[in-house]
């Protein structure tokens, strides 16, 4: 289905590990801190979201723990060339 194809690129973890990072939609965030609390290497993900910045942290493993745990769908993976790919 179209829906599946379109959104697969947004959430497929494997593609992202190589080229992507975690981005956020800060208007959805209520700063609860579940993301930072569950980050295995202690990145303050919540602070990135507050500043409306992507989590471009040299130590980020893109393990997806924050993306999966956020109760409000604030976080997702993004690839730099996401848009081009999804058009192909």
């Amino acid at each position: 289905m179209a829906l599946l194809n379109i959104f697969k690129n947004n959430s497929s973890k494997h593609n992202v590990l190589a080229t992507g990072h975690v981005i956020s939609e800060s208007s959805r965030c209520v700063q609860c801190g579940i993301c930072s609390y569950n980050c295995p290497i202690g990145i303050d993900v919540r602070a990135h979201v507050w500043r409306d910045e992507a989590v471009k942290h040299s130590e980020c493993l893109t393990c997806g723990e924050c993306v999966a745990r956020c109760p409000r769908g604030v976080l997702r993976f993004a690839q730099t060339d996401l848009f081009v790919r999804s058009k192909e």
Binding site: M1, A2, L3, I6, F7, E25, S27, R28, C29, V30, Q31, C32, G33, I34, S36, Y37, R46, A47, W50, P71, R72, G73, R76, S86
Partner: protein, 420 residues
């Protein structure tokens, strides 16, 4: 220049940051009476479920605060003395301001029945409330071990009836029931029954009595307006402000849950009790206080919440009328959700993956998504951006339309065009 900010909630903190981004020298003094300072209020729910420890609720470190270079006074403002350009702190000392921000938030409406002051009658406004609830729950551990029973009293005939439709209410209620919650519809509390100062039961108007060890109430909230009583500032249900977040006294600003903000687009002043508007209003107020002119433009109200464990997004306008269970507006609620213009309802999905769209003449005016959230991001953008959906409107309205696919396809084209 001295800025005084009353309230250490999200509106207050974001105002401090905004002031500092414009004015690096001015003196900033924040006065707040919550002993825990700034923390995530919505996060309290996750603290109660055990998904978070209390220390994780604090978004800021000491270093953050030091960088912002402001003074924090743990105290209560008891009066605003407009003619002195000052506030009275703890009933005794005067604190003079050049610019004042009132960001005192809202609080739970009182229960208003006999016995409401008994120990074990609880609400959830502050971290202190959450800690109190957990303490009481621990004391009742023997009860928990036996399976603590939860009775849920609703005054109306279904859950959140002015925002959710019948089907959505039903989905939530069914899940609550599965979790062991006993729902009582059209049940109105008459009196809380106590023994030795502690709650032991709830008596209903229809004469029934339910035994309990704790009674939690959430019957709506109202802006904290007591400071405004002798000030002559224009007010309605909240403190009225223009789009620059200024009250009728141009040196006094208000932001967050206490502010009833003028919306130049609709010509109305509305209350929100949502984190994100409070954040944005604090920022705009801060800029204006420090001399950078900016206007707050209300975007489509939006909330993501968990209803009976089901992630639910509510965007724009989705319901109509008054919810009998609430006085005022509910937590994480916005009045816009109930002001339904001419709109037609299109629906799809089943049980826990559910989507409802409110279709206006040319645009989508609201949406509810329960369960699968894939489309909530696109829908938020389309509704806030007033995307012209004329090209798919007919298809959306068709019986059994594949709503999700239509929206997804539309969004892909629309965001390409928007990006250009």
């Amino acid at each position: 220049m001295r800025y005084v900010i009353i309230g250490a909630g999200v509106a207050g903190i974001s105002a401090v940051e905004a002031i500092r981004s414009v004015d690096s020298d001015g003196e900033i003094i924040m006065v707040s009476d919550d002993p825990y300072g700034y923390y995530s209020r919505p996060g309290l729910a996750y603290y109660l479920t055990g998904e978070l420890e209390d220390k994780a609720l604090f978004p800021r470190t000491k270093e953050h605060y030091q960088k912002l270079n402001f003074n924090f006074l743990k105290a209560r403002v008891t009066r605003i003395l407009r003619s002195d350009h000052a506030v009275l702190v703890d009933g005794k000392s005067k604190l003079v301001y050049n610019k004042l921000l009132i960001a005192v938030g809202a609080r739970a409406m009182p229960l208003g029945v006999a016995g409401a002051n008994l120990e074990g009658v609880v609400k959830l406004d502050h971290l202190a409330d959450a800690k109190h609830i957990l303490k009481l729950a621990k004391r009742g551990k023997t009860l928990l071990a036996r399976g603590m029973k939860v009775n849920y009293l609703l005054r109306g005939d279904r859950y959140w009836s002015n925002v959710l439709d019948k089907h959505e209410s039903h989905v939530v209620e069914e899940r609550l029931t599965e979790e062991g919650v006993v729902l009582h519809h059209k049940a109105e509390l008459k009196e809380v029954i106590g023994k030795k100062g502690h709650v032991v039961g709830a008596m209903l108007v229809d004469g029934r009595t339910l035994k309990c060890d704790m009674l939690a109430y959430a019957v709506g909230i109202s802006p904290c307006m007591e400071l405004m009583e002798e000030t002559n500032l224009a007010k309605d249900r909240g403190l009225l402000v223009n789009e620059h977040l200024q009250t009728t006294d141009l040196d006094i600003y208000a932001a967050g849950d206490v502010a009833q903000v003028y919306d130049p687009l609709s010509g109305k002043s509305a209350l929100d009790s949502l984190w994100s508007p409070a954040h944005e209003q604090g920022r705009v107020a801060g800029w204006n206080m420090a001399g950078r002119k900016a206007a707050y433009l209300k975007s489509a109200p939006f909330n993501v919440t968990r209803l009976a464990g089901l992630t639910t997004t509510i965007i724009g306008t989705v319901g109509r009328g008054k919810d009998e269970d609430l006085i005022g507006i509910a937590r994480g609620d916005s009045e816009t959700w109930r002001e339904l213009p001419e709109a037609i309802i299109a629906q799809s999905g089943f049980d826990v993956n559910h989507m409802r769209l409110m279709v206006g003449e040319k645009t989508l005016v609201g949406a509810i998504l329960m369960g699968d959230q894939t489309l909530s991001w696109p829908l938020q953008k389309m509704i806030a951006g007033k995307a012209d959906i004329s090209s798919i409107r007919e298809q959306i309205m068709a019986t059994d339309a594949p709503l999700a696919d239509l929206v997804a396809q539309f969004w892909m084209t629309w965001r390409t065009e928007e990006a250009l």
